[in-house]
């Protein structure tokens, strides 16, 4: 059953330079226990999508489209009172961010920040909150959790801070965890630790995870299904295996081909996509990828391609979408 249903999400920011369509009609479902990867480059709308689900888009300047809908367990989240939303956020849907240094309060001890979550949401007593927080830190592999409770964020390494964030996000056993580039600021060996920890936490708690990242290597090993965003729209969506094996959209194909790997001919030039992603989001009448697309046709410049279905829940927004294996 679908735990989270997002339909036609539109998020616009009104700026001095005119409106920016950060998210321009994104729809997806998240099933129970599933890990969904949302992949895109800068300006693709991947982070704004997750902020919108959590009700964290600043308004103004942000405007959510009137036809948009975000339902959690069947209940519409858009238009909820702030107090209602607060009850869901953190307890049912929680989030971890890229930079654990700026998302932890530098003036409070780790323990205070963890216990506060339990006291506010559950009315737990201080003593019990402290015990449960220590257990939470132990679960995410922090050595000496009791001592860690009394430390300040700056006393911990980047990897340890991200563990604290994960412990905090899981404290209330949420149904959904949004992870926005959770390992991008970390070193490779620490990234490997955190990814392993997230897999382990999911096995134990059975929550659904939405993994937001630009790193195709990270989604390949962690997600069941993927959404590729470009300029605020879904370019392609499929199971992770199908998407890597038979990418149908020319953008996905270009993206996969431009990732340098540890195998393959190191002397051959990397395949690349010419130009750069648009800065102002989507919103036009044309396909936003048309200026960089190797398969561009005349109609791509005047018409938004709709999402067309291939097979087995594999969709791509392209007039030239090719769902055959030979396409890659």
């Amino acid at each position: 059953m679908s735990l989270l249903t997002v339909r036609d999400l539109v998020v616009r920011f009104d700026t001095h330079h005119g409106p920016v369509h950060a998210v321009d009609g994104v729809s997806f479902d998240l099933n129970e226990g599933e890990t969904l990867g949302i992949v895109g480059e800068s300006g693709s709308g991947k982070s704004v999508t997750s902020l919108a689900v959590l009700g964290l888009v600043p308004r103004p300047p942000g405007v959510i489209g009137t036809g948009s809908s975000i339902r959690f367990r069947g209940r519409e989240l858009l238009g909820l009172e702030t107090s209602e939303l607060r009850r869901i956020r953190g307890a049912e849907i929680s989030m971890i961010f890229q930079d654990p240094m700026t998302s932890l309060n530098p003036l409070l001890t780790v323990g205070r920040q963890l216990t506060e979550v339990l006291e506010v949401h559950r009315g737990t007593s201080r003593r019990e909150a402290r015990e449960r927080s220590a257990r939470g830190l132990g679960d995410v592999g922090i050595p000496g959790p009791e001592a860690a409770l009394d430390s300040y964020p700056h006393e911990l390494s980047g990897g340890m801070r991200q563990r604290v964030m994960i412990a905090m996000a899981l404290l209330l056993e949420p149904a959904i965890l949004f992870a926005d580039e959770p390992t991008t600021a970390l070193d490779v060996t620490i990234q490997a630790q955190i990814l392993e920890l997230m897999r382990d936490m999911q096995r134990r708690h059975g929550m659904s995870i939405v993994f937001i990242t630009h790193d195709l290597g990270v989604v390949a090993g962690t997600t069941d299904r993927m959404l590729v965003l470009y300029a605020g729209r879904v370019a392609e969506s499929a199971s992770t295996r199908a998407l890597f094996a038979q990418p149908a959209h020319p953008y996905t194909r270009g993206l996969l081909a431009s990732v340098p790997t540890l195998n393959g001919d190191p002397d051959a030039p990397l395949s690349s996509i010419p130009g750069s992603p648009p800065l102002g989001g989507g919103g036009g009448e044309a396909c936003a990828f048309a200026p960089r697309c190797p398969l561009v046709q005349a109609r791509c410049r005047n018409e938004q391609p709709p999402l067309v279905a291939g097979r087995a829940e594999h969709v791509a927004a392209c007039f030239e979408a090719d769902f055959t294996e030979a396409a890659r």
Binding site: E41, S42, S157, G159, M160, D187, V188, T189, I190, Q191, A192, Q193, L195, E196, H214, D215, L216, G217, V218, A220, G221, T240, R241, F244, A245, G254, L255, L256, S258, V259, P260, T261, L262, P266, P269, L270, S271, S272, I273, P274, S276, P277, L279
Partner: protein, 332 residues
Amino acid sequence: MSTPLLAVERLEKHFRTGRADLSGRKRGLLRAVDGVSFTLERGESLGLVGESGCGKSTTARTIIGLQKATAGSVRFDGVELTSLSRRGWQPYRRRMQMIFQDPYASLDPRQTVGSILTEPLTIHRVGKPRDRRLRALSLLDAVGLDPRHLFRYPHEFSGGQRQRIGIARALALEPELLLCDEPVSALDVSIQAQIVNLLKELQERFGLAYLFISHDLSIVRHLCPRVAVMYLGRIVESGPRASLYADPGHPYTQALLSAVPVPDPAREAERRRQVLGGDVPHPSAPPPGCAFHPRCPRLALEPPGAGATACRSEPPPLAERGADRRWSCHLV
């Protein structure tokens, strides 16, 4: 044998830390670079790989004279650089240039691209103003930008284009050596590939030597036939790309390679990951013996004995292992 373009020998860069007077803490010593040696031939590229705090950037900044070396030697085309005066440095500054990670922070927002590109020529008194402008145009062309871009400001460009401007500026004085400090890590995937290809093309065209600093093993593999891996201020392994990636000798290199996520779900599902425990220790308090020993999976499997004792007490030398390979490990 001809003189290598760059010969770095037992280079050390230490920083004093802490303030004895205010905090009461003892003054510490941070050994950011702790005895690094390598050579680089003309037209060659060497990849310097490691995680944050391993000293790879400090190595580059010390080589190019942005920081004074604590000890050791840096010879460029046979000339010792570490003892040069400011004026003595001047002719060598032209011959080696640096490209930085952040294309947003390394360009002056108030200068036009034209003035950014002609500034090094003005400082070094190369040519007349007219020649300098022509040179700026040919630089733009070399890095794949448009002549009209000469009159624009950095904020009008995307990250990838800004990195192209940074590369053009570095090439203005026709250097022989480029020190590239994480030049593509701030860029989007589709743009990274463009810049990697551009760097390769420029190297062939101008016969440049690169010292390429990166935490990304896959990128380094595409640019550098020779690779050195750093951990806590020291090179722990070096060798030709093909054999080092296929058969890493140092347990840290092995772990680093195994930690790189593979963009292929089928292979990710079946491959065995070796996840290192713990954090990189702080360089102000490196562990005794081999600096890697507290995290070392090889030591964890080693029965107690002479080898295991050495790991905890004696730093292993960067020993020759044949076929141009070196690594520093007591346990083979």
